[in-house]
Amino acid sequence: MMLAATETLSPLTGGWFLNNVWLAPVVPTIGFAIIVLFGKRLPKKGSEIGVLSLLASLVLASGAALQWIQRVGSAGESQFVSPVVRTWKWWQAGGADFTIGQHIDGLTVVVLFVVAFISTLVQIYSLEYLRGDRRYTHFFAALTLFSAGMMAMVIAEDMILFLLGWEIMGLCSFMLIGHWWEDGANSRAALKAFFTVRTGDMGLLVGIAVLFFAANEWTTSNLGLSGFSIRGISAWALSGDPNSTVILVAAVALFIACIGKSGQFPLHTWLPDAMAGPTPVSSLLHSSTMVVAGVFLVARLYPVFYTGLDILGPSSNVIMVIAAITIVIAAALAFVQTDIKRVLAYSTVSQLGYMMLGLGAGAWLPAVFHIFTHAFFKACLFLCAGSISHSASHHSFDMKKDMGGLRKHMPITFAAWTVSTLALCGVFPFSGFFSKDEIIDNVGGNGYTFFMIVGLGGAFLTAAYMTRATYLTFFGEARGASAGEHETHGDDAYAEHATHSSPHESGALITVPIAILAVLAIFSGLFNATPFGESWEYLKKWAEPRAVVVAEPYAGGPGASFVITVPRAAEGDDKSPCGIATPVDGVCYAPKLNHAKFKWSKAMLSLAIVFAGIAISWMLSSALYGRRDRRLVGLTQRNGLARAGYRLLANKYYLDDLYERGVVSNVAGPIARAAYWFNQFVLDGILHGVARFTRALGRFVYRDIDQRIVDGAVNASADATKTVGATVQPIQSGRVGHYGALLFATAAVAALVFVILYT
């Protein structure tokens, strides 16, 4: 096999952007501070600072991406393209240095670019969408801080900064979901999101601690890096040094964090509720960027999961199982939603399942590619939903009540939605096809046939529920608000922006970001278009770390060489992490992964499944929603009597019943109820326990600490002041003579002291 250490290595190019891309999170952080401190006094209420700081980040991220591509180009064919790392010492404790710094590699530049790009577009969109909102400035402040947090996490050199960015995102998510907190449901949704994600975050803390204590000794002595360093952890995980139980615990703990953040089963419940936030927030945080943080964590520390969970091993692992469950249950739930954003939310959960499935099955690059493409088309779908509610349906998101027939009124939104939907369904040649099909293909290619079938089933469901949502929104007859009916909203938080009028296309600040994203939803798949041959696999070339042995130039001092012993190294077995069977001097930072060979026959199968999903769903939708008696629309949803009468009508409605009630409620109902039970009794039980404890603690603190100690100290100082005051009061007699006497007495005493001291 290849031995990079013996080759002549070409020098890698760097560049200003690669060295200084750490500014990408710093600029929005400063922007956040300016918005919070001075935002309300600025002419555009702080929004200009947000947009400008993110544009600066976008420039930095794009420059870094271009220079990274040059760097990859300057490397030899099988040379390891070392990340651009810069660190600064932050603080010191217990003999350990805590550093912050940047770790720029292919994965970083991909995700950094996506975050900066979509953040910028969403901020521009929000200029119009939230115009006149009562907390306009705060909204932009939180949105800017969120982007800073996400970018800090993406460029993090070590797990400390990673954790910091991760938690900043959690906080901003909470603030933005509860943006319209006057409505109790919104603040409940914000709390639910925050606490559910926090439950998972415990796993992140535990995982980081376990990794530090397990890896620190090895990384310090062999690489001169701390046990928090991502480079160190990656090399350690593949070195053969880790105890298999310890690294399993670490991987599972980290994966629990990913379950919380990326909305995997069973902690996915917060994500649909998070749609209570303004639509730009849903688009940015809860579909395209923040929720992929969990996926990013797995991709970032892939060697840990690779070794810990035995990825590519003969049996299925926890990531794949969870991901497969998530794909199916989320897709099934998407069928029974009437809220367009909730359909998209479940779709996001399901697509995150695909990414996790890819990572769990050893399809690292397809999963990262799916992060990339999914971000564009899902952000676009959400922004379309926002455009509809902004300009057509009077801030309602109810597809059945307030939408329908909108394709004539909103041509740009309709075109963008259609393109993104086709991308999401995975129709050739839209971007989703290239990424999703690659995941499914590679899962099968690595020998996990069952999970490949689950992925194909998920693709069918995706196509079906997106067709249903598209039909309800854009086809059929206009209903409710989109038909021009006016109804008063009890919720005054929404009533502030935009006057209600008949459906129309949104303004340029909304349609331009949508159009840009729609274009990317079509073409971003070409960044790794496996069907067109090896030369089109740009992302594979640029982003996938190469599994080669690196004789460390920055290892612990000169002459520091050591031997990696390969875990699964047997005779002639190239399944060892670096693809080598014999121990070699050096370390390797990435496991060797396989890539399935693209075959049109397999792609045709999945395309056929997708088209079947679209066709079946279209027929059912037009039968159910298009041709039925208009007076029955609302009644059939909940009213059993109406449904019984409605069953008597025509035979085709039995199909509807089968579709709505029979299949979905029988399949999804028990799961939903079980999830609800779990949520109510297990998760909420934990929450209530914590709350009760906090209340007791609060009462104790109030009675014994606040009342007795704190207030006691305050009262005592007041009493002391009063006593002193009463004592010295007679001096202030108000009589000039007394004052004169005091003055001269003091002068005399001072003179005496002076005389005594200096004679």
């Binding site: 009061q729 202030q732 007699s733 108000g734 009589r735 000039v736 003579g737 004169g740 006497a741 001269f744």
Partner: protein, 99 residues
């Protein structure tokens, strides 16, 4: 020694001035006592200036005379206003403090 006699005169005048400031109730008399104190200081300055053969003390004395004039001007204006408001210039009656 000439200097000590000057100083003695200054000290006597200073004490009389201090007594006047403390003991007198009439505001005009208090002002006059302050003048006494200032002039006792002048005498001291002049005495030391003579002894050291320097002009510094004279200069200071001239300053003090000028400042004393200004001070008396302000003081008398205040006394006049107090008198207009209260028909009395007794300092003991000026206090408005309670408690």
């Amino acid at each position: 020694m000439l200097t000590s006699q000057f100083l003695l005169l200054g000290a006597v005048l200073f004490c009389i001035g201090v007594y006047g400031v403390i003991a007198r109730k009439n505001a005009v008399l208090v002002l006059m006592s302050i003048e006494l104190i200032l002039n006792s200081v002048n005498i001291n300055l002049l005495a030391f200036a003579l002894r050291n053969g320097s002009a510094d003390g004279h200069t200071f004395a001239l300053y003090i005379v000028a400042i004393a004039a200004a001070e008396v001007g302000v003081g008398l204006a205040m006394v006049l206003l107090i008198y207009r408001n209260r028909r009395s210039i007794g300092l003991d009656e000026l206090s408005e403090m309670r408690g």
